[in-house]
Symmetry: C2
Subunit: 137 residues, 2 copies
Amino acid sequence: MLSIGDLSKRTGVKVPTIRYYEQMGLIEAAERSEGNQRRYERNDLERLAFIRHARDLGLDIPAIRELIALSQHPDQPCANADRIAADHLVAVREKIEKLKKLEHELERIISHCDGHSIEDCYVIRALSDHGLCEGEH
Amino acid sequence: MLSIGDLSKRTGVKVPTIRYYEQMGLIEAAERSEGNQRRYERNDLERLAFIRHARDLGLDIPAIRELIALSQHPDQPCANADRIAADHLVAVREKIEKLKKLEHELERIISHCDGHSIEDCYVIRALSDHGLCEGEH
DNA sequence: GATAATTCCTCCAGTGACTAGAGCTTCAAG
DNA sequence: CTTGAAGCTCTAGTCACTGGAGGAATTATC
């Protein structure tokens, strides 16, 4: 039996976050000690590690809730789980593309600036005047 | 003189967002009509375009506030403005790196799954068992 | 066994950058 | 002069936590 603090240390999920996940229904309400403190077992540890891992991959809570629900019907086809992951992959790729554009834009702005005065600062000027941008954004 | 709606159309910043920026002190409180409606001029348009552009680049409001303050001292050196942009560039690059790792991980998980049942689903298994991951994350 | 230090509990509020809605007033067009 | 769009303020909600207050339970030390 683990206390919430033990569970936190083992999974790297902060204590208030564990309580938050319980509130959100991602983990079941834990058993309590005589003094009303949460007590966890091995399967809670696994469940929480699953959630942690999914969050690290950037999945949001509704998606995780769905994956958990799916994982509880082991006999069903896993097309839905694949779809969740694939949709997320698309979103991740889109974010990467956007950020790459930003990266280039920032590089360009910074490299154009000669570092003298604000009056001539390319950073400030580029922000003021969208016409100085390359491409659309 | 522009109404808040006109300003919104011209800059692409939504009306409630303009009011929010005013509240946050990014734009000065506008003059008002007799009937208490905001009235804007050309320089408000420029200021708001500046903010919009900086937000599109992903700068947060404190950074934008700082850039605005800097832009009002045209005789000072622009090292600070450069630093803000450079710091942001570092943050953007870090985000890109993280997302690329996620991309690979998701690709790998999805490609391993044969699409049969949840029981064997690699998506679910990979999430449950961190040991199936490549590298650290 | 007493005490002290740590961990736990619940509840509430705050984060960032908006966004939405209620309920009311003003403006512009016909 | 009427009507409908657009404006006003104020409040609350979004997402996924995070932090603090104030108090109870547990664990460690003496």
